[in-house]
Point group: C2
Chain length 223, copies 2
């Protein structure tokens, strides 16, 4: 059985979980708080980041969410998520990186720092100005998603792909932390609502991070 | 003909150039200074980053260095650089991400900001304390490379891979900017010296970024 080292609000672990869910790959969760820098965890991933995916019977240990997703895509045929022509695949990977890097850096990372790390580690209140700036940037990103969905069925093309999973993973964490204002983003809202009802997404939405409660609309498919 | 939008000290463009060089794919360079945020460039890559790879006759435009490298790997058979079993390929991708993210964030990015952006854009001197910190971190990264080469022929396994190209690209920019102290890193030095003599690497080493001169040892194979 695969073991996924993660914590409930890690957007990169959520991306991997959505992919494994879509492909019906079973796994068990192992709770890891990477900020504690456990020696055994650093041995598995010197970068000190979640997720790490292990299979002790097969002696396989994988780190880096992108390397993990490519591995799952290569080894599990069901529901291909990096598919199409080489150009299609490049567009999927470009947008996956966009959400993993730009959306994360602009929105998810500051929200996690202000609302989670400060509370759990520093016992300090969030900086309201930085929260507003993250929400403003989230709005710009949602405009871009609206634009993509105006032109395509799914974010990277005609079929659901890893780009959609990466975007949904980041947005779900930002939404949990109260960082998304859905007003004026009907395309993205419809796309995300459909996502929320998928069996791969339901288990993620029902989990909670201790001490931090999501807004009332967070788990609802109709929001 | 492929056109690569880049500037001489962009480590991600260097990674793509090393890959195209190893695979003998021809291209011409187009100079792009991403900090100028040209509208036409942002149209090609909303992330506003180099490299972008275009082929106007084929109507292909690719952004994100990782998406570009995977595209080249998929479409050009010669000299596979993401090869081996699925586990080998995951290790290549993990280490490629390590150099693209950790080494870049710890070493290359602060060096580029202090020594290039400050000079070109802000007309300000570098912060000596931040430069020392970047060099200290470079030393830790070189220890990790020494460790990898003690255990393997190449960084990610038995053959040269994208992980080696990514590492060499980051190190070459850090070295240009005077951020690498080679003392005590004989394994990494030997590996990098071999790299410097490769035909894929020679054209990169002979280029210069205006205003900024590299140290005397930068271009030498024997340093």
């Amino acid at each position: 059985m695969w073991q996924l080292y993660q914590f409930p609000l890690c957007p990169f672990s959520r991306k991997v979980r959505l992919l494994m869910g879509e492909k019906s790959v079973g796994y068990e969760l192992v709770r890891e708080s990477p900020w504690e820098q456990r020696d055994e965890f650093l041995d598995m991933n010197p970068a000190g980041r979640t997720p790490v995916l292990r299979h002790s019977q097969r002696d396989v240990s994988l780190a880096d969410s992108n390397a993990i997703c490519e591995y799952i895509e290569e080894t599990v045929e069901k529901s291909p998520m990096i598919n199409g022509t080489a150009t299609n695949r490049a567009e999927i990977r470009r947008l996956t990186a966009w959400f993993d890097e730009q959306f994360y850096g602009d929105v998810t990372a500051p929200l996690l720092f202000e609302r989670m790390h400060k509370r759990l580690i520093h016992r300090a209140p969030p900086d309201a100005k930085l929260l507003r700036e993250a929400m403003r940037r989230a709005n710009v990103h949602l405009d871009y998603i609206d634009y993509l969905i105006d032109h395509r069925s799914w974010l990277a093309g005609a079929t659901m792909s890893l780009a959609d999973l990466s975007a949904a993973a980041q947005i779900s964490v930002a939404d949990y932390l109260g960082g998304i204002d859905w007003a004026g983003h009907e395309q993205t809202r419809a796309w995300y609502s459909m996502f929320k009802s998928r069996p791969s997404f339901r288990p993620l939405l029902s989990e909670r991070m201790e001490v931090i409660a999501p807004p009332a609309h967070y788990e609802k498919v109709d929001f």
